[in-house]
Subunit: 140 residues, 2 copies
Amino acid sequence: MKSEIAEILKKNQLSVTGSRTAILEMFKKSNGALAHADIEKKSTEQFDRVTIYRTLQTFVEKGIIHTIPTTDNSVLYALCINNCTQNHHHDNHAHFICDVCDITFCLNHVTIPEVNLPEGFKKKRADIVLSGVCKNCSNK
Amino acid sequence: MKSEIAEILKKNQLSVTGSRTAILEMFKKSNGALAHADIEKKSTEQFDRVTIYRTLQTFVEKGIIHTIPTTDNSVLYALCINNCTQNHHHDNHAHFICDVCDITFCLNHVTIPEVNLPEGFKKKRADIVLSGVCKNCSNK
DNA sequence: TAATATCTTGCAACATTGTTGCAAATTATA
DNA sequence: TATAATTTGCAACAATGTTGCAAGATATTA
């Protein structure tokens, strides 16, 4: 695990540091998306707020994680499964936010259907944000 | 115009006040979504920041406007075209953010296609956020 | 229309979130 | 191991969002 994470960092020309390793590990272990606040509060080690901001920013730039749009004013981050390279994220992302447990899932296997845009509009990227009740919560 | 706006407010059991009228007018005149900062900066009259926050919040609760999720950490608001009643917004919204002019369009006529969710997930609401180049900008 | 009740606004004070510069510490390189 | 390059944490600040409360505006009733 440790070395796997170090590999990812090295592959992206990033120094392997304590905070980067720990934060990336949190993403690997989490089954959903994380907000800045989650990382600040839930990490065992204590990192400076600034460090977390900069780490997340770096990870986004390198294509290790991506941001998820939400209807409220929170920013969520989640691991890019694969193939996202620097400044060249996948063009399509589907996410599901559970109204009950509030966990955000990346639906990597969901294919985003084509949308009929009005004439003249050229699409580059599509985000779908679904909300409702997730698998775990509907089984209770 | 003035009276049309007053009508909307009355229909929603809201007192017709200067700030509400002016802010709602801004939405009517704007061809895209507005952020809190837009209203604070672009309005001719000067409103207290708190008033703007509370007005937007009230409008969202009444179903006059709705929020739009964005990948960065900004919150956008746009008029609900019709039928959105209190706490019962339309379940589907499609929006288009232009990378060039940065205007956000509500695509009211775009029907959101069905997404194949993994088993156990129950969808209540769907937001689609597309980005690319809008009609105006691609004609230049 | 005037008096009263209700609601809305603006101010102040505060909490949270995000940004920048810089010195000290850490990591990578030779 | 020494040096260069990068990263971190602190401080200071800027921007954004929240709450309580008194003064003002709007709606309601007679």
